[in-house]
Symmetry: C2
Subunit: 210 residues, 2 copies
DNA sequence: ATTCTTTTGTAACATATGTTACCAATGATT
DNA sequence: AATCATTGGTAACATATGTTACAAAAGAAT
């Protein structure tokens, strides 16, 4: 676990900060489906992702839901920083997607380090920036792509974070994350299979050609 | 102009910082349609909005465009901060919507002040946070609302920044900002007029009921 | 007055997406 | 083996949105 930490952050934080992080942080294992952050929740910890993947979702006031982006090794959650710094409630939901480990940093340390360590401040800004760009990316996807392309995009992204050409999701799961209906997903997937781009199985989809 | 500056930022920055800003910044007037920031542009100044309104747009790789949100008095552009801090290119376009004045802060000062003034650092984080939430809002709009509601939402927003129940836009203008077609906008507007919610005129739309 | 351009209205149609309903296949449970 | 729940396939239809085409109205330019 500690070697994973050094492998991930050793290059960007100074030695002193690395030690402080080890001292004050708490490592937490998460599984698929674990709700790490939920809507309207106050957050007192800032999470650093060491392994696995976390999906960040946005919910409509009535029923709708949508996948915004995934967090991976080395990432952190912009919403958490916001909440930590400003005593605000979360606007998003973060759910474990690929099991892994997060380091939880207490909120006081998070803000204390901003003044103390240049590398930490850079990291915080860089993270904000990355999340902002990922959100822009999500906007592009829903604003400019049709459902077929969004579906393909989803399969590629999911395949990437799992590091596997087989995506283990039901049509219903996918429909939820794309905020559409199961029938639509089945229809489009079947067409993609006919084109020879994927192979459908129960509970999984194999990606044949990018 | 200076009194406008103090009215806007006097409450949040310490005296010393206020003076520094006055010294190093350059005030720039902008008109409607002025392109303040464009795609792929490197930014060497951070803008503080003193008056007027700026619209922030996102462009598709081929032709499509979409209004993300407006910036108003006291706001700044998250993309600029990103670019200033990280030598990155802009992912958005910022265009004058309501004529006004911006203060341009040189990039070195922008980052120097982060270590020097607590209030500046808070402002920068707060701004990042606000822009992030506005982007989330834009996601909600395009992901969960139908075109009719997006159109109404657009009219209300535009009316708010203009502080006028009459919105001076052609159907074509609106279509572009919502990334749809003129015919669709005309159709929906006509229906809203029939419902008695708006009144249509050439080159303008009057909002009757919220 | 005539011509031209911009703006808006509208019809008719194409397409993408959402909905409902039903069935078949699969795998789990009893 | 019988039953049940989950998953996926498909038809048929409803609706929202996009497209093309054309005309009328308003205003600008000559």
């Amino acid at each position: 676990m500690e070697e994973l930490f050094y492998k991930t952050y050793g290059g960007i934080f100074e030695e002193e900060l690395l030690e402080e992080i080890i001292q004050v942080s708490k490592a937490i294992d998460f599984k698929e489906g674990d709700v790490l952050i939920d809507y309207n929740q106050y957050i007192k910890m800032m999470p650093l992702l060491l392994s696995g993947a976390v999906k960040v979702m946005r919910e409509d006031y009535d029923s709708g839901e949508l996948l915004l982006y995934y967090l991976e090794r080395g990432d952190t959650c912009a919403m958490s920083m916001t909440c930590c710094l400003g005593e605000k409630q979360s606007e998003i939901r973060a759910i474990g997607e690929v099991p892994g480990v997060i380091l939880m940093i207490p909120v006081q340390k998070m803000s204390e380090w901003i003044g103390k360590y240049k590398s930490w401040m850079s990291f915080v800004f860089e993270s904000y920036n990355n999340r902002f760009n990922e959100l822009l990316n999500a906007v592009d996807t829903i604003a400019f792509m049709d459902m077929n392309d969004r579906l393909l995009n989803y399969l590629f992204e999911k395949s990437k974070i799992e590091n596997n050409t087989i995506v283990y999701k039901t049509h219903q799961d996918i429909a939820k994350e794309l905020n559409t209906s199961r029938v639509v997903v089945s229809r489009l997937l079947k067409a993609l299979e006919t084109e020879g781009r994927i192979k459908l199985n129960r509970n999984s989809i194999e990606i044949l050609v990018k």
